[in-house]
Subunit: 411 residues, 2 copies
Amino acid sequence: MSEHVLKNSEALYDRARRVIPGGLYGHQARGLLTRGSHPVFLESASGCRLKDVDGNEYIDFLCAYGPMVVGYGNESVERAAALQREACDTMNVPAPAMVELAEKLVGLTPGADWVLFAKNGSDVTTWSLAVARAATGRDNVAVVAGTYHGVHGWCNQLEKGFPGSERSTVVNFDWNDLDSLDRCLAVEGGLAAVMVTPFRHEAFSDSQLPADGFLEGVRQRCSKHGAVMIVDDVRAGFRLHLGGSSQLWGVTPDLLLYSKALANGYPLSAMLGVDSLRSAAREVFYTGTFGTQAVPLAAAVATLDFLEDRDGPSVMREQGESLCSGLREQAQAAGFGVTISGPAAIPFMTFTDDSEFALSRRFAGLCADGGVFIHPLHNWFLSTAHSAEDIEQALSITTDAFSRLAQEREG
Amino acid sequence: MSEHVLKNSEALYDRARRVIPGGLYGHQARGLLTRGSHPVFLESASGCRLKDVDGNEYIDFLCAYGPMVVGYGNESVERAAALQREACDTMNVPAPAMVELAEKLVGLTPGADWVLFAKNGSDVTTWSLAVARAATGRDNVAVVAGTYHGVHGWCNQLEKGFPGSERSTVVNFDWNDLDSLDRCLAVEGGLAAVMVTPFRHEAFSDSQLPADGFLEGVRQRCSKHGAVMIVDDVRAGFRLHLGGSSQLWGVTPDLLLYSKALANGYPLSAMLGVDSLRSAAREVFYTGTFGTQAVPLAAAVATLDFLEDRDGPSVMREQGESLCSGLREQAQAAGFGVTISGPAAIPFMTFTDDSEFALSRRFAGLCADGGVFIHPLHNWFLSTAHSAEDIEQALSITTDAFSRLAQEREG
């Protein structure tokens, strides 16, 4: 397996660095993927396959960091999007697609009575706190320490550029630790909201499922204290359960937040809420220029229909389990200790005794060289476009990557 | 002129209210347009024409609140978008379109050395403050009192749901009043940034152009005090000048913010900056799920090409001047005092002695009944799709609306 050529990627990156600070930015910033192995720019995408600007092909397990839940260029989503686009997209007031999607989501989601739409995950995490504050008249909100909820001042993990005053109403508790939440609930003035992800899926960390009773304990405490329970399902939504990921653990939040996979790559996010928060939701002014954009709304209806028709979460779990069990066997055979964490549809793998992620980076690089796109530091995503054959082909590439990694360890 | 039927709109609105708080929200909220005359939902759009869900047609002067700068469904923009979409859209890393658009914008824009992309106007107003704070090590920022810069906590005009602590680093000065800016600059710790719009275009107000020397005075003071000058060109961008609207007044900011018209309705925003802020821009972590989306980037290149080829700002100014002078004559003939304010390509009309906007609402309603879509409370927008014939036809409708309004006054 020789390292593949990334000549055009590098040439484009040279151009990019002149006109874009860092050439790439945010979670795409160079240095997060494996330099020299992962492409810097991609040229085309179809199903679960990517082609980079040098013609290298990859079986993709990142799904654009989540959005591509039914595959790149999914025919039935693109048909619905094209039909909507022919009529209209961004306008003065919405098209009927907004009502259709709202009805569809309310129908799919236990406990949800209404929906509001935005573009980014950060839009809805911030908006949901405003609704909770408007409803409760309280300012403080609790989140799990170190959890990614977006890039606004109150939650930006790097903090640089955001004054401390923007975080002054945010208190932290620990994942799977209800005692620490109890200490937050005792804060002066009480809590407007408690925001959790359905499972813990931080970059640079093994994923952690909720312990028995944890999400239920959050639910009970919120109800008791009159705080709004918010589930940030931006990353996990629609891969585990079509009614909101926390349903897997039998828990229904007051506000449920979606984005990434909602419209299979079209920019859209949504906040779903219970009836008792409807008037607070009306009182908060939140909007954006492209709020009427109809194509993402129509694409979302088609994405949800597709996932329902095929029981998408089961398909992704099954293919994810094949991938994960294959990787476990291969790691063992090659003599590597690995931890594969998270639900099978949103898995992540780390190496034992690899705190600087050197093995992870090298392994992900070897996979990219061979034609499999995984992330060394961030969880992966399955889609319904991953067939048993795709998984099998991917595993034949990862087994070579493990062998090469073992050789390098010996050498 | 009889009031037109909005039966399907009303039926959809009934459905919407069940599943969306308020049925519509944000700047689309019902009550901002004229009830019974403006449609609640639109079905299709082409050029400068809209059709609502009841089949009523409108010549549109709102342009989706700005985005549609070269017309709904512009052929050359849609051709570029389709070509990009066939290859790819949202992916793990960007497509080459990101570099192409960044190069195009840097080439078009005096003083700009780099570009970063996001989705909403609020994204870039917030992000720009973070860059300014990272660059200066200062927290406080100054904005013109009452100016709309988006919906995040630091600038949300309705405040409900956003704790005061999020606005604690924002100080206010007055439009066209450099003395008031001097008082802000004397604030303890100094200012990280001064953010202005190129002209004042608040809803519920006549627009105000910058007084002689105002923008230049802001520029000089920022340079002297080491504060970052930010021009929020989200609303006006690409209708007045293709190098940034403040170029009309000979002023080059340190950071220039675009969104609305950048990609003719595709969701995109951009922050352009000077070289001295490049490293600060790299230090701030800001991103969003759909940051790689290639179709809006390709659409933006085509939009800018189209505007350049046809000298879009001149076309829009000319058609805007025809519209405005026609309205002025009609108002005078009908015996109404009106103020038409703002640049001709982004005009707004208010009635004298109409502080509650009753005449504005009724006039906009009569225009909608006749087939012209204007906003009673918010500035309007021209596009290159408005031909001399469209303006002529629109004026034949507005003259009837003025006559009817005069009759109602007499009655």
